[in-house]
Symmetry: C2
Subunit: 343 residues, 2 copies
Amino acid sequence: MAKKVSINDLAMAAGVSKTLVSMVLNGKARENGISPDTEARVIEIAKKLNYQPNSFARGLRLGKSNTIGLILPDISNTFYAILARSVEDIARKNNYSVIMSSSDESQESEANLLRLMLDKQADGIILASTLNNDKAIRDILPEKYPLILVDREWKDTSFPVVKVDNFNATKQATEYLISKGHTRISIMTIGPSHLSTQTDRIDGYKAGLEAHKIPVSHNLIVEIPHNDVERCICTSVFTWRSTNTMPTAIIAANNFIAKGCLNCIINNKLNIPEEVSLISFDDIELFHFSNPSVTAISQPVKEIGEKAFEELLARLKDSDYKMKNQVLPTDFIIRNSVSNIKK
Amino acid sequence: MAKKVSINDLAMAAGVSKTLVSMVLNGKARENGISPDTEARVIEIAKKLNYQPNSFARGLRLGKSNTIGLILPDISNTFYAILARSVEDIARKNNYSVIMSSSDESQESEANLLRLMLDKQADGIILASTLNNDKAIRDILPEKYPLILVDREWKDTSFPVVKVDNFNATKQATEYLISKGHTRISIMTIGPSHLSTQTDRIDGYKAGLEAHKIPVSHNLIVEIPHNDVERCICTSVFTWRSTNTMPTAIIAANNFIAKGCLNCIINNKLNIPEEVSLISFDDIELFHFSNPSVTAISQPVKEIGEKAFEELLARLKDSDYKMKNQVLPTDFIIRNSVSNIKK
DNA sequence: CTGAAAGCGCTTACAG
DNA sequence: CTGAAAGCGCTTACAG
């Protein structure tokens, strides 16, 4: 195949003007009263010459790219990989492309990525942010630029967000543990600690305890830095044991922590569920196969991506549309990592 | 922040021509003998006005986008998610963006994606193809368009490819089983069967058997359709058992099949490694946590992505550069899914 | 040391 | 029913 067929080449080949060609190709033959013959001929020739519109020229002219940006902490993490896939699928169905990137939990690279997406003329952005305030984002974005948050947000954000009901899901998990006789329940969250997913889960956990008049104990709420998960879990366990304050159950506030706990088993540092029960917030395939299999709160990952795109799309089609917040329900999958210690 | 600052705005603000602004912004002040004062002033103003070049205009003018396309069967599959991440990282380091998409093992959507990437003016493409011949691709691509295959290829392809030594890795795994006393060894591959990753692995398996004078038995080579993995594995096991031809070991030619085997355990349809030993081609995190943990051939996924990008980049920088094939070595990770049945 | 002009490929008023 | 012209924002000969 030869290179670069332009609208001009088509016009020459068809013996018409490029205006006409452009109209035909954009399905505006009808409304401009172009004769069906001419229309058919142009389409025919375009097909034969394997014409591909130059999206740069088009984008430059139209001021839109039919591309959206997707910024995630890390696409190689299963949760985000599935999210990315669902956005990709629904975007393609709607004739949008996606350009995605990983921020690696770095606020600085998130800012750079935002600029990059703008530079690439993304029409809108879906963002799982590691930031914690609107200003940092507003400073980068043009006014009224369409952006929607997924998964994570922060207090009083003015951006729309699609997320899961972190508070109630954790509250229910906590109450489930209580119903199995647990009262010394720990929650392990992942740092950085400002992430709304984590704080909301802590709040839900506290609410669960309070509903059953169980006092909240602050040395049962532990924050694990995201770059040293396993060692810190072991350290906590060690401290609890040596001070005789071991909880009977742990709620892992994300899948990394739950995996860290499983690794402690493998290294013979912890017994689940005999010594301590475990519930993971966020379910991944691994928890179905692990030993023990892990009771988990499952998020509708695919729906999160789809809803976010749908909101964004509505806004893209109508600049007056106000994107709505969406809070999606979770599932609770009971497996074998929680023991019943009711007397 | 306001919208759209163009090079013209900068020129006005600085009281110079846009030619000059463009030169300064592209670091060509020196070579065009622009006075340092002027240069500094322009840069200053660009910064103050938060200037972002319009990449469409730039791309249109320059005929290049600094974007590469990445087409994978499925980014939500761990193997490809990690590959995608590694390409993304190295691309960004080199000032390229990546636009990626999943083909879902469909030849038709792969073709569409190829066209899409061209349409988006990708400067080059990295492709894990589900196709099986050059022509289908050549028909879409402009002549001499830079494309490099990863993971999969086919006989006599003229495209460069970065992959793993499928043949020898499987041969070694087979010989490892033999060294543990296994002689009835099955290999389960995933359909569609033309994929080079699968055929090369079968060849390696045969070579391993032949090296030890073990005859190849065709009902031990089974192809599992990719959309019905678990049921077909169970069916095979059932057939083997009822005809008293059960193998003592299975080589799963990819991680889906190995997971399918693990699921058979969970559903009480198979005992590993007591009844049958298991080795997986392709190692995923899950195999470390599963019960039993799975002995696996581990691929240098990150390196595959990096090498592919490096080759592509070399070609992008020098259109005379001939991209080279790369065959990367694998690791063999011994875990607990293989029993020793030597008498 | 600096600027006017052309052109990348497209779409869209505008005119006939 | 169809075409000539302008312009999106940029870069690069070319001229001075």
